[in-house]
Symmetry: C2
DNA sequence: TTATTGCTGATTGTTGACAAACTCAAACGT
DNA sequence: ACGTTTGAGTTTGTCAACAATCAGCAATAA
């Protein structure tokens, strides 16, 4: 299913970036377990490329936190504790809250004219999905909701960091612990964020976003303690 | 003066990381200007290492945002606009605010016993420096203040991202635009953050931190517009 | 004149080989 | 029995050479 996104004209794919996505996918899919060591020659062999190329890909993954590097000893798939998951939630919340505040500010300034319409449509569709309990659909809509706000913040760096965090958090979904979700609850929270952004109130948007992420972590903890292992969307 | 910081015990230095810091220093010091292209063979020659090694270093720098990469065309020192500087301030503010809230929470929970003492001492020293107008000393104290709070947040990922942002923002200090500073003002703001953290009020700490960074950007803009080019600390 | 095509030199992408460092376990000495 | 040392084997770090791609310019055609 996952065609590589056609890169926008500017930057073609290089072999190393291709290998990078491939390893990334292996980690997310669980083909490489947490704590497992990545052997450069083995990977190079199975992928049919040279060791240097694999090496470059691994270095890149290490820089974005998916992999731990120890000099002269190798690369290991990042093992993560519950405390670290909390840390990721915190950072993600901080970035998202900032983005929502920024988006609200821009809406108040008359920029981002169509944002409100697009958010409205997203929420409407989501309400329809709530009753059908179609988690896959909800998952996509949830990502879209967050993405639109990040986009509206007009802060490329923030978006890059956020996307990276999301990618990393994906990991823990496949690793036994599902990410918490309650469509009805997170829909309410999305509504609160929406209202704040719509009214152009940065401060309120920020608080609503923070609350949303914090509650999301709470739900995650709940499910983690209950030992649930379903594959759901986060919210 | 600028010795390279001794890397923390755990991870030994490899040649590539050494080259990385060296290039980093060249960029910060202005030996490599914004927009300038980095030629791999030239760099390898001047540094006396192989091309593959500088390649690895360049890739790493690109991942942390100091350098722009274009496939098959090369690496360029990141040119940055005023809007992007604002973006960096925003992200930095978001992370810092989150850290302060977290620190306040932990203080309220009885953890971080000595944090308050250390912050108190930092502020006292700073007040002494205020009158002498010793900017170098203030600069160090300012970094220490922020570092202590990031540390107290007990969030390694947040600290890593924050440190990276700071490093990047260093760039624009050497590039004509100084980073804004007014010791007396930022001392007041530090005081507000301190009080909030001390009272264990996460929300107030967060707001104070946000305000601090925002005002810092305001001062930066002020100086930028005035065309000032001194080398001062930010606050 | 202007746009297109085909060279040429230079630079990046990729590879395989060599050198250095590490792991593990057996041999050794106390 | 226990800690230390030594050595073989494996894995990573570094390097130099080969292949692919790009920027710039000259020649050609409309």
């Amino acid at each position: 299913m996952s065609k590589t996104l056609p890169s926008i004209g500017a930057r073609r794919e290089t072999l190393a970036t291709e290998v990078r996505s491939q390893i990334e996918e292996m980690i997310v899919a669980g083909a490489l377990e947490a704590g497992q060591k990545l052997n450069e020659v083995t990977l190079a062999g199975t992928m049919g490329v040279s060791r240097g190329t694999v090496r470059e890909a691994i270095r890149s993954l290490a820089d974005s936190g998916l992999i731990d590097l120890i000099a002269n000893r190798g690369a290991y798939v990042n093992e993560i504790s519950l405390a670290e998951i909390h840390n990721l939630y915190e950072v993600r919340g901080a970035i998202f809250a900032m983005a929502c505040a920024s988006a609200a500010q821009r809406v108040g300034d008359g920029l981002e004219a169509d944002l409100i319409d697009r958010l409205t449509e997203n929420l409407d569709t989501m309400r329809g999905v709530r009753d059908t309990d179609d988690r896959a659909a909800y998952y996509e809509l949830n990502i879209e909701f967050h993405d639109m706000l990040l986009q509206a913040a007009a802060n490329a760096r923030a978006k890059a960091i956020y996307d990276n965090l999301i990618k990393e958090m994906h990991l823990y979904r496949r690793r036994g612990l599902s990410v918490a979700n309650n469509i009805a609850l997170s829909l309410d929270e999305h509504g609160a964020i929406f209202e704040a952004v719509k009214s152009g109130d940065p401060r309120r948007a920020r608080d609503a976003a923070f609350a949303h992420i914090e509650k999301g972590f709470g739900r995650y903890m709940q499910i983690a303690e209950d030992g649930n292992a379903g594959d759901t969307a986060d919210g």
